[in-house]
Every structure is written in structure tokens, then in C-alpha cells.
Symmetry: D2
Subunit: 314 residues, 4 copies
């Protein structure tokens, strides 16, 4: 995560004194654009409320206890996260300013528990900014993941195709301006209303929005979107959000890694298989009720060859 040298579009507020919980690492990045997607998009922390201490403070109201030594905070936060006591994590809040392609924003805004103010293409002219995929982004449809990508295309094919995509983007934006009759391209004619002209723009067009969210839902968001199954173009934003998490609430970030990101959930049937394996037994797939997909996933998680019909594999 590097901050763009001259990225602040709005003058930073003069520093004020506050009795609110203040985090030095967050103050450092506040208001600065963090480039994403090779600098075509960005993420910017606009405001934040609360730190690890705010989670502990809220939890201790529940438990009817006053403030304790900071040394106990880590244990409490880990306990809360592990046992899905989620409400104390809702006591922290963050506000981001984001710029991303519309096809990413469409996935983003399916998360319903955030507050959003987006740029309106009914009200304002859409700038000439359309996502340019890099040649390393052009990959084939994944053979194992119906939603994802597999190997990248050969460079010469990718170069050809990204060129065509870029030309198409330019054509679309030119038609957009022509419909609006910007620069009086169609002399003596009138422009079409923005709300209709925008419909010719591609899904790769950039948009911007403010997005405000509590920490519990922020964790849920990054758990889903920093996952390898998420589309790469949203994952890079989510990974940046994980880096911000480390600055904002480091104890929570650590607990989230241990208990969510690196966690493994086993079904009832898988637990039965595990018990047998721990007993030193050999287990054949045909003896279990696991589907082929589940059998492979279990083997992978436990460190076996997932193509084997029997676990453990030597």
C-alpha cells in the first residue's frame, strides 16, 4: 500500500484537538488516495470512529465491568471474535471514498449494511475514464471455478484483445459525447439528457462513491471479497482494506486472520472422517457421504493428495 504523492483532492482540515480515540497510523493516511488497479482507481480513508479499545469498552458494558489493563484487551477481542459475539465490533465505524469500475461497484453495493453516496450520472457528466485491463488480466475461463479465471492468454493474443477493448471504450465514450452534443458536434442540434446518454457507456466505466460501514460488516466484506474466489478487480480493493485494518484495529486484524481468514470449518460428516483419521484408520471416499467436491476439499485442507480415493495418502 503506497500513498500517491499528491493525491489529496481536498485540502486536509487543519489539525484539531480531540478527546476521541485517535490512531496515529490512521491519521497518517487520512484523506490520502491509495492507488488501486494500477492507479486507475483509488481508495481513501475519509474518517474513522473507534479503535480496538472501543470494542473492549462496549463488551465490558455487556459484562458489567469497568476498564481493565490493556494487556487483557487482546484476549477479550480474540474471545469475542472466535465466539461470534459480533455486536462490540459494530461500535467502530469507517468512511471510505472509492473510485472503481461500475462492474466492481455492482458487486460492492450488494452489501446492504453500509451507507453510500455515489456519483450521479443523471446529474453530472461522466469523465472519460474507462478501466483498461492489463494484458496480464486476460485469462481464460477457469476449468474448476465456474465464476473465475484460469491461465492468462499468450501475450500477443492479450495485446491484440486489450487493444480492441480500448478502441471500443473510446468509441463508446465518443458516442456518449456526441449524444450530449458536447462541443456542438452536431451543429444546431440539442444534446440528449445525461440520464439516457450514459446508457451507451460500458460496465468498465469508472464511478466514485463514499461508503461508510461498521467494523463487523467491514470484516464480513473483506472475508468475502479478499477471498481467492472473488473477482480480481474487487479483490485488490479488499486486500487494501485488509492493510487498513492492520492500521486501524491491529488486535482485531490479528484475531480475524486466526479465527476467520485461516480457519477451517468441518461439517458433521467431515468430523466423522477426521475422528477416524485421528484414530489411525484409513478412510475410503466410498465409505463416506461426502460429495466428490467435498472429498477433494477435505483432502486439500488436511494436506493429502485430493485426487486419492483413500486418505491419508502416503
Amino acid at each position: 500500500m503506497s500513498v500517491a504523492p499528491d493525491s489529496a483532492p481536498e485540502p486536509l482540515l487543519a489539525k484539531s484537538k480531540t478527546a476521541r480515540a485517535t490512531i496515529a497510523a490512521m491519521e497518517e493516511i487520512l484523506g490520502k488516495q491509495i492507488p488501486v488497479l494500477d492507479g486507475q482507481g483509488f481508495l481513501r480513508v475519509v474518517d474513522y470512529m473507534g479503535d480496538d479499545g472501543a470494542i473492549v469498552q462496549a463488551a465490558r458494558v455487556s459484562y458489567g465491568q469497568g476498564t481493565k489493563h490493556t494487556s487483557q484487551d487482546r484476549g477479550l477481542i480474540r474471545y469475542l471474535l472466535r465466539h461470534r459475539h459480533t455486536t462490540p465490533f459494530e461500535m467502530c465505524e469507517i468512511k471510505l471514498h472509492l473510485k472503481m469500475p461500475i462492474f466492481v461497484a455492482r458487486q460492492w453495493l450488494r452489501h446492504r449494511t453500509a451507507n453510500v453516496n455515489e456519483y450521479s450520472a443523471r446529474y453530472s457528466l461522466v469523465p472519460d475514464e474507462i478501466f483498461k485491463a492489463g494484458i496480464q488480466d486476460l485469462a481464460v475461463q477457469s476449468a474448476v471455478n465456474n465464476q473465475g479465471r484460469g491461465e492468462t492468454l499468450p501475450a500477443h493474443e492479450a495485446t491484440q484483445l486489450t487493444g480492441e477493448m480500448q478502441q471500443a471504450a473510446e468509441n463508446a465514450y465518443a458516442l456518449y459525447l456526441r449524444l450530449l452534443n458536447e462541443n456542438n458536434q452536431r451543429p444546431d442540434q440539442q444534446g440528449v439528457a445525461r440520464e439516457l446518454a450514459r446508457t451507451v457507456l460500458p460496465l468498465a466505466t469508472f464511478t466514485e462513491f463514499y461508503w461508510k460501514c461498521d467494523l463487523h460488516n467491514y470484516l464480513h466484506f473483506v472475508s468475502l471479497r479478499a477471498d481467492p474466489h472473488a473477482q480480481k478487480e474487487i479483490r485488490v480493493y479488499a486486500e487494501t482494506m485488509v492493510e487498513i485494518l492492520d492500521k486501524w484495529v491491529p488486535l482485531t486484524a490479528e484475531a480475524w486472520r486466526d479465527y476467520v481468514r485461516e480457519a477451517l470449518t468441518l461439517s458433521g460428516e467431515e468430523r466423522t472422517v477426521l475422528r477416524r483419521l485421528l484414530n489411525g484408520e484409513k478412510v475410503a471416499k466410498s465409505e463416506t457421504a461426502l460429495s466428490a467436491r467435498e472429498w477433494r476439499a477435505l483432502g486439500k485442507a488436511l494436506g493429502y493428495d485430493p485426487e486419492s480415493e483413500t486418505y491419508p495418502t502416503a
Copy 2:
């Protein structure tokens, strides 16, 4: 609202007997596509729960009263809606299947209190369906509404421009197929993953989703989206939803028209002006704290010439 003759894409379930509240007018349209946007899109009621009686039933739990005569239901529903006792209206639920352009879906899905399952263009091929604006849709930017449309363009200009829009849509879809390498257009080459190829499609591309919502939020949705300030392409869906409201919960629909759709809200300052007008006084704009926009809106609402500096206007 006319129902397409052969519109049911899924065989209707055989009729079953139920003790649930059942509404004849809803059963008639259940599962049938109602064409919107000249049949390019549709709306289809997939399921519903509760009727006007369910609202009354819930309200009477609050009031600790048993069932009463149906004749009193109308009065109770009107009372609840007028006084914004919204929770009984949450006791009814509806599920729609919708097909609409992505630029409309983007507005639609900003409403966060509904349940949604949308077609995934990561998982499946996007069909060749892109919204074709009619020549009557091509209107200039409104001079009074920064978000809306004014007069339509002359027919020959509109014909020319819709032709260009349609050609651009065809080009975009052709590039989409080329990227996917459908029909082996790029012989001996591989297709690009769907999640990336789709980014060249325009915002006018159609999408589909299931959308489930309670009646209170349904009313809120149509109040905002069947409003003249809403974009025409979403308004036509919202107007269809008003027609469904009449079938689903006729007493609520009537109360909503009286107390929401046709209601007028006056600010504190406007109430002061109104008192003076009712006293038979003449009121000059300069005597009030109303902004120019507010003054005009008040005059229009009360039946005066909004351009006059003094009310009443003769």
C-alpha cells in the same frame, strides 16, 4: 397492465389448497410476465404473503384486540398509514421476478431493505439483449430538473441517434462474443473469462433478478420511483407496481394514494404563510423566509401562479 399471452417461462404449479390468506386478483397474475419497456423487460409476481387483513391482524395484536368486523378494517388501515405506524405493513411480503437494463437495476438495488438474487455474468453468458431507446425517449436535458429530461428531440434527429446507439450496442455485443471466442471466431485461440469479457457491455444491457420485499418498503419504493422526478425507465416499472398494489392490498393502496401520493407537506414557514392567506391577507415573497424555489412550489401546490411575487394571485 396487460399480461403477455404466453409469458410463463416456468410451468405454473398445480393449484393447491391452502389455509393462508389468498387473493383472487393476485392468483390471476401469479407467474405471468407483465411486459415493461415495450416488452423488452418484464415484471412477474412470483409469490406473495398476506393481504389487507394481515395488516389489521398485526395491528390488533399491538392493541390487544381480537378480530373485528371487516367494515372497520378500512378505517384502521387509513389511521395506521396516516400516522406512520409502519410496522403492521411489514407483515405482508411480495416476491417479483424482474428483467430490466443494468442502468435501471443500479438505481433499483440501492434500496437496501429487500432480498435479491441476480443473474451472474461471471457464471453465465449474457444474452444478446440491450435496451433500445424509442425515438420518443430521446429528450433534451431538462432546464429545470438537473437530473431529468425536457422536450423530445425532433424525429429525424432521434431516428439518427437511436440508430447509432443500436449500432454501438451491436458492436459491443460482437466484441463480447469475440472475447469469449464463441463459435471459435478466433480460431485456435482461447476465450477470455466471462467476468472480464462482460466489462465491454453497455449499461443498457438487460439483467434479471428475483426481488423480495415487505409491503412497507414496497410503498416506500413506489413513492420514490413512481414519482415524476424518477427516470422514466424505472418509473414504468414502479407504475406497474402501483397497479399490482391495487390487486394485492386495495385498502392500503387507496390509503397510500390519499395520505402519501397526493399529500402535501408544508414546512413551519409555509404554515405561517398559509395562516396569513387563510386570514385573507396578501403575502409577498419578500416578507417570507422562503427560497425562490420554495415560493414557487408553494404557489403551485395552492393553485396560484408560481411566478407571482404576491399570493393569492387573482
Copy 3:
């Protein structure tokens, strides 16, 4: 609103420097208990995010405009609130620490759009704090409002009854301790689990919680709970929240008073009546479709004698 002299139960954090929006009037009250219900309960601002400027900032992202002169902020905020453009108000957040009787908390927590951490009586001992109604609180059931209070009881009756209520509270708390076997009251016996013992405590028992909410929902809350129809014991908290609103977001507070608190909403039928009155006509109740209740409310709002069968009343 007076702040208790020595009310801070937690040491205030040392002042830090921040680039976040900071409000002097909020910093002054931060962390300090504001007594409510004669000091039996309290409200305390624990944290806040954003000011009037944050609303403007978010709205201007939607409109695609940069920062403007502060002098235009007031007009924009008024426009947003008047036209129910609610999302920019969601960009501010506040966190309160509250102590109130359970019967008030039950109403409070029906608002679902806030984050909450409440004291757990399963986990901790409930303190000996039960709401004592003052003799001025003992009023008869209202004759006109099925939910509310009318005139206060004669002082000697009220004194007698508040004495009985207090005695009952003491008895209940004594039984609670006895069940828990606090102080070994039941020698050689064991205490009952807290989660069961608490069930004998009255609804007037105090509880505490942290409550975090965005400004849009805060406004909605005070609109409902600072209303004369709300129960007095929640209204006093809501009125304190209105005073905090003035400190937090003064421009929004002013707009809320004009466009919500002092606003009047007229139904379609009432607008018809109003048009006739403005035309100088006399209107008889029997000529309208208004219910008796609606007729009276309209008369009251317009400054007529609500008992008259004809408006205007001389």
C-alpha cells in the same frame, strides 16, 4: 441540559491531534454524563463522526462537484432534508452511553437500525436501581389518547401510590438478592443462576447500553420519540438528543425543525378542503370525506375551533 459536575465514570482520554472533522461544542460534552429523569438515568456522548460539512461533502460527490463556499452549505442541507434525500445524512455517526429503565429501553431498542451493546443480567449482578416515579408523573389514563396520560393525580393520592411502588421495588430487589443468596442470606444454600433470578425484577429496573446510530436514523428517532405522543420517560431522553443535535450539526438541526418537527402534512382530501377555504368558501364537515378525527386535526392545524362543524370558524 446540564452536565453533572463529576460525572465522568471513565478517565477522559488525553487530548490528541486529529485531521478528522472536530466540533468544539461536542468536545465539551464528550464523555460527560448528562442527567435524565431527575438524575436517575443519564445520556453520555461517547464518540461522534462527521459534522454538517460531511453531509455536504457526500452530497457533492453525488452531484460531481467539488468543495464550495460554506455559505452555500446551509441551502444544500435544507434542500436535501426537505426533499428527503436521506443518504448524505447517513454519513455522520454518533455513539451514546445510556442508562434508562427497562420499560424505556424496550421502546428504544425497537429501532432496528442502530448498533447496541447492553449490560447483561445473565453475566453480571443487576445494581439496586429501580426507577422512582415522581408524584407529578402519576397521571390518569388520557381520555383522548389511548396510549397516553391525562391530568396528574391529586398530590396525596400520588404520594400514597408512589410510596407503594417504591416499597414493591424494594421487595422485588430483596427477593432478587435472596434468590442469588447474596450475603449468604439462606445459610448453607446455593444461589440461583442470575439469568433466572433477574426475572423477578420489575420493568422499572435500570439498564445501560452503548448505542451507535447514523444521523439520518437519529433524526428519525427523535422525530418519533420527542413527539408529544411518546411516553414521557422516553421523551425526556429524546429532548436531550435534540439539544445534542444543536451542538453536533446546527444547520441540520435547524432544517429538521423547519421541515420535519414543525411541518404539516395534508392528505389529498384535506388539500381539497384547503383549496376551497383559500377561495373564501365555507366548508362543512359533512361535505368532506374526512373522518371526525381528521376534521378536528385539520381545524387545529389551521387555527380553527376543532369542535366546529364548519370552517372557517369566526
Copy 4:
């Protein structure tokens, strides 16, 4: 789950024909009170929308596929639940009518994603119904669970204490009536307003409400509240809801048992321990970063003696 013989307080609607998904097992219990807490409380299914097929139907819109063989539905539902694809489960809805003590309702209504209409004690007289704990309910505070119960008290102590609790409940209700001046107990005096009189009633007083919820949130609710850590008095309702789940959406119920109820989640550190155990190694607690509590929980889950300092235990 047995249905009370003559429990329907409202006449069942005459059977109607519907094209909506209809479930025979649900129709059988529709409208009938299911007694809970020894018949002191109840749960009643008032309405439902959707079945297992509705989940599949919504998921297949996402995947762009039409209807398939029912035999594939089970696999799809299991896949969705396992991978936390939660939105299709939101496509089913249920409405319950519940009667429970207020201390249970307080826990219940912390779930924010449901629709609720509760009996209003401001508007109506509270009936003389206060939860009577059975002698088997009187248990000591748990030594291991700060929130829960341990062993039951000796019968003679429990009998004594339940007697005192019941007497206290009678006294509280008598004071409530006296405050209201029901039956003119305080001759020539007036009753106190209901909203204030109710404050003397204990938390064990019964309340009633309608509660409507989608299936995803219903599953979340029962996962938390049918858990052994939940208070017994809410757990008995949640267990009844599990039985209803089996009738409503049997494929989902089965998948929920396998992938949620009987699932085990291992943290990153626990996975490391597991890998070593599967390798046939002995692992000492001191070699790991697990807390004492985590070590015991892991041992228990894997079938070892949780008090041992080394796993596996012979």
C-alpha cells in the same frame, strides 16, 4: 412438538386454491398454537412463503439456468449452505405469533432483521400471566459458563423459592391493578395511566407479538438460540423452530444440521495442531499458542480428554 387440541384463537380461513408453493406439513400446523414452557407460552405459524424449491429457483436465476430435476435440488441447497451463499435462503419467509415472558422477548428482539408487532401495554391491559419457573428450572450459577446454569437446587429449596417467586408475582400484579384502580379498589380515586402502571410488573410477565423473518435469518436465529449456551427459556422456543424447519424446508434443515449445527470451526493455530496430530505426532499444550480454554475445546471436539496437557490422550 404437539399441537394444543383446541388452540386456534382465530377461526381458520376457509381453504382456498392457490398457485403458490404449498407445503402439506405446514398447512397441518398453520394457525395452531404449539405450547412452549409447559403451555404457559406458545408459538404459532401464521403464514409462510416459499419452500426448498424457492431457494433452488432463486439460485438458478443467479446461475442463468432453468428448472432442473428435483434430484439435483438437494445437492444445490447443500452447496449453497456450505459456501455461505446466503441470498437464496432469503427468498423464503415465515410469520409466527409468539407468547413468551418479557425477559425472553428482550433477547428475541435484539435480532434486528425481522418484522415485529408487539402487544402494547400502553394501549391495553396486561393480562394476569407471569412466568412460573418449575422447580427443575431453579439451578445454580454455572461454574464454567458465566452466563448459564449449573446443577439444579435440591427440591425442597426449589419448592420454597418458586413459592416465593409466585407470591411476589401475585403481589406485583395486584399492585398493577390497584394503580389502574380496576374494580374501583381505591373508591373515588382515579386510575393511573397504563404506561406507568405497567412498570411495576416483573420481567417474567408474558407478552405477545407477531414476528416475520426470512429463512436465512431464521437459520441464524436458531443457530444462536438453540445452542446450549442460550438461556433455557429461549432455547425451548428455538428448538420448536427447528422442528418447524423440518416441516417447512426439509432439505435446508438437513443441510443446516450438517454444515452449521454439527460443524466444527478450527482456527489457523488449531489447524497446525491438527496437521501434527494427523502426522502421528504428540502435541503438548505448551508447544502451541492456544489459550487454556481453546486447548480444552479442541480436545473435546477431537475426542480427547480435555484436561490432558498432551494430545492424543490414550
